[in-house]
Amino acid sequence: MAEKSPQELIQIDFTPPPRNWMNPAVDFEARRGTWSYPAAVKNLDYLGMPNPREWSPTDLDWKLPPNWKQIIHDGFEDLLKKYRSLKIFMDICVRCGACADKCHFYIGSGDPKNMPVLRAELLRSIYRQDFTTMGRIFGSLAGGRELTEEVLKEWYYYFFQCTECRRCSVYCPYGIDTAEVTMMARELLNLVGLNINWILEPVANCQRTGNHLGIQPHTYKDNVEFLCDELADVTGIKLDPPINRKGAEVLFVIPSADYFADPGTYTFCGYLMLFEHIGLDYTLSSYASDGGNFGLFNSVENLKRLNWKIYQEARRLGVKWILGGECGHMWRVMHQYMDTLNGPADFLEVPRSPFTGTVFSNTASTKMVHICEFTSDLLRHGKLKLDKSRNDKYRVTFHDSCNPARAVGLLEEPRYVLKNVCNHFFEMPENTIREHTFCCAGGAGLGNDENMEMRLRGGLPRGNALRWVRDHNDVNLMTCICAIDRATLPPLANYWAPGVEIAGIHELVGNALIMEGENERTTDLRGLPLVPEKEEQGDV
């Protein structure tokens, strides 16, 4: 990975090729580093999905079922009947090109098929040929083209080169949402067994164990205890968070990476410290052990299956409402899909903060509150004892994660929390934050290592904005509210803006919280000195 230096990678040629885009040809061998490996047989088998087999995109023969054309055609017809969005998005694009340079993958690669308009045209051209009068009569003049194996291969390449971040849909005069188009294309690809392992393995794991990482309940408990031990070294307080406890007021749901890998684990510690600090009556669950949901990147059925456990567990444990941790796509699911798929949650109560009395009426139906909403409310009511100066070594910026920004509208809450727990906060340039935010380029199942070149390319806009605040404001920490971000941004930052670390917001909350009975803090949650030793004093 990263064989090319940033200086080489940034030499991007935006001149479109002379070849008409309608001629599909992807050379997978030459483009290693920009695509993801296919799903393993065992995962498709476990999930009961079609056409499991050993194959590689570099093979000439992709071992499609003999009637694959009919399968795709019928599948397309079915989706058109189910989704008005698909019909509209297929019919009304005028190819104005406003979306073209809004995609991080286009900006970082110059590949015209990464323009959202053309990505959608890959599907639209087949739609026109098969389902519209004009396409049937005029064929390619009306923008239609025949579905061939080459087209299918191109779908595999480009629809697993979209992170469903929805930035393009902000700029589209008709709100055409490429995430929706990509989701539809992936539904079609599923039908003939073209899917990637970085999505299907987590989905299979999650179906079985409750979380994407496949962490079984005993390991879950061990991990939580281990993190609490580590935390005790920092604060002098040993926490004992309840797991699967019946009768708690709140079920706390988080992305599994938060109790598995750095730097998410520090965010996890921050959550637990906050709950201890205020005395929240809550429980974790080793069954509903992942709020994240890679089903979103795969199929509506898998999305529903994986999400199903959240309300089931809330009911079993008899909680009143649900609180959710920092995770991007999880929050798209919780906000836009959960209630529709697995509601109504009429057995829960409208969330009310027991400390401030605030009723979260914006969650009256779903009954699930975002931790940033919850913490903002606590801060606003002065319920937290904080020492902001413990974060003084950090000069902090905030990366709006795609889904909280563009699917939930959660923009101010994380900023409010940050400004309350640290003294040095700086925004990145305005066209790269809030609803204009750029993706980490590893979302929607693409955050795997074999796809690293494409991740770094797609990460250019974010990395470059980060570089700007690093150089102008000496920023050394980029915070985010997304577990995928916490996993994918460190290599990205290291590549485009070396010297910047990545953290969740509640890690900084944890640093700043003055816990009752704590030791005098000399280190942060990472175990590093609160005041970094001056370089001249150190023996470098």
């Binding site: 991007i12 104005c96 008709y174 299956r305 209630d339 914006n362």
Partner: protein, 332 residues
């Protein structure tokens, strides 16, 4: 290539109309009465059909794109026009989108300076300005045409014309919207040639629509300012048509037939093409839905009938490990 084919197609259509208009009363009747009548019927029926076809598919999920702060805590100012929490906000958002092209107004273009490792986003409002100019000019031009359809001429048409001809240049007065229409379209066409990205994505049908609209505008312009048409005759012809007492138009010249024929082609083409963006924008689920997801449940009529891995199955599968770790179990 697509650009040429489309230019050729529109030219052929125009010549067809011109020739037809010159050969006798029969073709003139067809071109001046039957074709526009049928075309208009196809236009209305086609759009109606398409909208019903769209509406026949449900909206399974509420998926607005939020472009501002949502309503959450009472002390956080929410942006109702960018992340509407209810109907009023949605109406406002849609009005901004439809009347002022709000989303297109956000347009930027990138500038990459590799040697400095610098990527910038520059405001780029020209597409927005040209699109807005063209669409509004077209709307006002269409409304001005009511002079031909209604007798006596409604007073608002007079107002519209005097406002449109405010600058009092030329005789007959040049309408500002005629200029905006043609300039706007010319820009939209030019960028399809000049901007390599846009050229790459442009289909023959993209050029076809532009040539057609330009042809309509130019012939209209010609009739008013160059080969001046006898307005009284035009009015008589259209009045007859509009009141179903159709006769072949006389004394209106060839340009009239070309103009009317291209309009007819546009009518027929509209419901089968990307021009459906006009009705379609109203149905776009990322814009016309409230971001009230967690407050009000959205129902999907075909909610998939699958369930997850139940707690009971999960407990059974990991029973021994759960027990060894000291979990409280439902079934010992």
């Amino acid at each position: 290539m697509g650009a040429l084919i489309s230019l050729f197609a529109v030219a052929v259509l125009a010549v067809l109309a011109a020739v037809g208009a010159s050969v006798g009363d029969g073709p003139r009747f067809v071109l001046g009465v039957i074709v526009p009548g049928v075309a208009f019927a196809v236009f209305l029926a086609g759009i109606l059909y398409r909208v019903i076809h769209w509406a026949a598919s449900p909206v399974p999920f509420r998926i607005p794109t939020t472009t501002g702060q949502a309503r959450s805590l009472p002390w956080i100012r929410n942006n109702e026009l960018e992340a509407p929490s209810g109907l009023l906000g949605v109406l406002g958002r849609m009005a901004l989108e439809v009347l002022f092209f709000r989303s297109l107004f956000r347009n930027t273009r990138i500038e990459l300076l590799p040697e400095k490792q610098k990527l910038s986003y520059l405001a780029d409002k020209t597409l927005w300005a040209a699109a807005l100019a063209f669409h509004w000019a077209m709307l006002i031009s269409i409304l001005r045409h009511f002079r031909f359809f209604v007798e006596p001429v409604p007073v608002w048409v007079d107002w519209l014309e005097s406002a449109d001809g405010f600058f009092q240049v030329g005789l007959p007065v040049f309408f500002a919207t005629s200029i905006l229409y043609l300039v706007g379209l010319a820009y939209l066409l030019a960028r399809r040639f000049i901007d390599p990205k846009v050229r790459y994505i442009s289909l023959a049908s993209d050029y076809f629509a532009l040539y057609l609209l330009l042809g309509i505008g130019l012939t209209g312009f010609l009739m008013r300012h160059v080969e001046k048409v006898d307005v009284v005759q035009v009015k008589a012809a259209i009045a007859g048509w509009a009141s179903f007492q159709a006769v072949a138009p006389v004394g209106v010249g060839v340009w009239y037939f070309v103009h009317v024929f291209l309009v007819s082609v546009l009518f027929v083409y509209f419901p089968f093409s990307k021009l459906l963006h006009a009705p379609g924008v109203f149905l776009s689920p990322t814009r016309n839905l409230a971001n009230s997801n967690r407050a009000r449940r959205h129902v999907n009529p075909w909610n998939p009938e699958v369930v997850g891995h139940s707690y009971a199955e999960w407990e059974e599968e990991f029973h021994d490990k759960l027990k060894a770790s000291g979990y409280a179990l439902e079934k010992e």
